[in-house]
Amino acid sequence: MEQKENRKKEIIHFFGQLPVESLYTAGIAGERFLLGLKEGKFLANYCPDCDFVFLPPKLYCEFCFRELKEEDLKEIENKGILLSYTFTHIDTNGNRLENPIIVGVIKMNGTDTGFVHKLLNKIEDIEIGMEVEAVFAPKERRRGSINDIVGFQRID
């Protein structure tokens, strides 16, 4: 810890740090989803009461509070539509990035929810409404994580 003094030798700031390190379990439904990705599959779940398909799948339907069980999972095809996108030119600390990162919201076919991930195409090839598919990491590098998908790319 250090502090800064101004010309009048007044003490104005006190510098310090909060130690924050977290480990997040994926949870019951999260793990079902991530283990699917590890296999190269998209697993969603369906609430029959609300006629709604969640991706990622949830443990419960947030609208009606019905419990969604393992048997309610269903595999969906690796194909979706780009709903929105952005290019980010700065990192989390505000530093300029050499190559912008492109992220998009994707609605996978047969689901009712959006899904955020990176887009792998060049900026000029990206447009809202285009059809995209996930590119999975090589099988041996997958560990049950959202990064088992490298990103999404345009299908022509």
Binding site: H13, V20, S22, Y24, T92, S145
Partner: protein, 164 residues
């Protein structure tokens, strides 16, 4: 829904990490403004003095200083120099660090009522130069200061308090 349900991860599950998870290290750096009262308090420490404030209404002498009396809710501007001695109000002997690791040498944190402040007005600091077994509530103690040139305007400009 079943009552009293959850899925515990046993210690060995946790060590082996046989579940899906993500980790994250936060980047939490801050510059906290000291404010008027604590800024002045730190300047005092740099000069080897413990400063308190006196409420113009209830005449309490409070330490650490603040710019208001939370009882009377009036502005407090009258800084007074207190002694660097006091008595132990309560203490502990701590054998662990903030993340629950065992300390080699125990620390003795204490609330020390500072002479010159109203009765019961203490600050948190450490006790040293004494066998932990001999520390008592009510014991008289005196501040041990850093050398003047080493003082930086921090609470640690007082190294600790020792019995006297």
């Amino acid at each position: 829904m079943k009552n009293f349900f959850a899925t515990p991860l046993r210690d060995e599950d946790f060590k082996k990490k046989n579940f899906c998870y993500e980790t994250w290290i936060g980047n939490c750096f801050y510059a906290w403004d000291c404010g008027k009262a604590i800024g002045r308090y730190l300047e005092g420490l740099k000069e080897g003095k413990i400063l308190g404030v006196k409420c113009p209404k209830c005449e309490r002498i409070m330490v650490p200083p603040r710019i208001f009396c939370e009882w009377c809710f009036v502005l407090v501007e009258d800084f007074v120099e207190l002694k660097d001695t006091g008595k132990i109000n309560t203490f502990s002997i701590s054998y662990i660090s903030w993340d629950m690791k065992r300390l080699e040498k125990p620390q003795i944190p204490a609330v020390i009522e500072i002479d010159g402040a109203s009765p019961g007005y203490g600050i948190l600091h450490l006790i040293s130069e004494v066998d932990p077994k001999d520390v008592k509530v009510g014991m008289r103690v005196k501040a041990v200061w850093k050398e003047e040139k080493e003082r930086e305007g921090k609470i640690t400009d007082i190294k600790y308090f020792r019995p006297y």
